[in-house]
């Protein structure tokens, strides 16, 4: 008996993008980190690209699948690391939802979005917001569930500085990638 699973273009797209994000997630998990909780968050690049190219719900799927599958592959599924990661992903995706409600956000404006002075967010704005929301969500979850001690707040400025810096960097990378892919004739990544 063969079981045929009906998959849509959207499913394929999510799978491809999630695979990319998971790859970055795993590569990054092998890098040493100076302070627990500080990571470049390269997978954020994929979330932002997905958000701008394919909309919020695709980005939400990609981000949550990334956390789930990434943790299973790294071996941190259901561990505190996973819970913090999930909390971060959920808060960043919520903030991106709110941010993408702004008029003229993303590419609804047309192909000229990148680099033009529209009033909506571009990749850098989204990325900084997502990185900070991720850090804040992760931080408060850590505070509420794992380390309910006020001394933890002494780490917050350092963590937020890292989030802002890495948010700008990954936003800039997303901006470069978008600039390239928009200059070429648009092609769906999925056949």
């Amino acid at each position: 008996m063969s079981l045929a699973l009906l998959t849509t273009r959207e499913d394929h797209r999510i799978a491809w993008l999630a695979a990319l994000a998971i790859t970055l997630h795993i590569v990054e998990s092998t890098l040493p980190s100076p302070i627990p909780g500080v990571k470049p968050g390269l997978a954020n690049i994929i979330t932002i690209l997905t958000l701008i190219q394919f909309g919020w719900s695709t980005a939400a799927w990609v981000n949550l699948l990334r956390v789930l599958v990434g943790s299973v592959l790294v071996g941190s599924f259901l561990s505190p690391t996973f819970i913090l990661s999930l909390a971060g992903a959920i808060s960043s995706i919520m903030v991106l939802r709110v941010a993408s409600w702004l008029p003229l956000s993303g590419r609804k404006q047309g192909t000229g979005t990148i680099g033009s002075g529209g009033s909506g967010f571009g990749p850098i704005g989204y990325s900084v917001l997502a990185a900070m929301a991720h850090m804040a969500g992760q931080f408060y979850t850590a505070y509420l569930l794992f380390i309910p001690h006020d001394a933890l707040f002494h780490l917050l400025p350092v963590l937020m500085t890292a989030a802002v810096i890495f948010g700008i960097i990954s936003g800039f990378i997303a901006h470069l990638i978008l600039g390239r892919s928009l200059n070429q004739p648009r092609q769906s990544p999925v056949r």
Binding site: S105, G117, I124, G125, H154, P157, M160
Partner: protein, 119 residues
């Protein structure tokens, strides 16, 4: 970058010093050391002048050292040496006492780290 991007980046960067001030600034470095004997203030010393002082109490002399903005009990004629083990004090509101000898020292800053301490 869109205008909204620029606003977000500026706000994000502006938030950072605020965070540092809020979470790091609260433990303020003290400026002065208040020395009390028998519950009465006997002297107030600057924490920025390094010196050794000897404070006479009912049991004998307690020796207090002030060095680089911090102060500590070096010795005291008591049994528990709680005051000596308290170590260096440097932040506003920090406090050490030698109860047997009735000598206590407290760091004074514009903003105190503790409102009160109960033992």
């Amino acid at each position: 970058m869109t205008r909204a991007d620029i606003v977000v980046v500026i706000l994000a960067v502006a938030l950072l010093p605020f965070l540092y001030i809020t979470y790091w600034g609260s433990s303020q470095q003290g400026n002065e050391l208040r020395v009390m004997v028998n519950g009465k203030e006997t002297m107030v010393l600057s924490l920025h002048e390094n010196k050794h002082i000897t404070v006479p109490g009912p049991l004998g002399a307690s020796v207090i050292d002030i060095h680089d903005g911090k102060a500590r009990f070096v010795s005291s004629p008591c049994r528990g040496k709680q005051c000596v083990h308290t170590g260096w004090l440097g932040q506003g509101g920090e406090f050490a006492a030698c109860l047997p000898n009735r000598v206590s020292i407290a760091v004074i800053a514009q903003e105190q780290r503790y409102d009160s301490i109960v033992f």
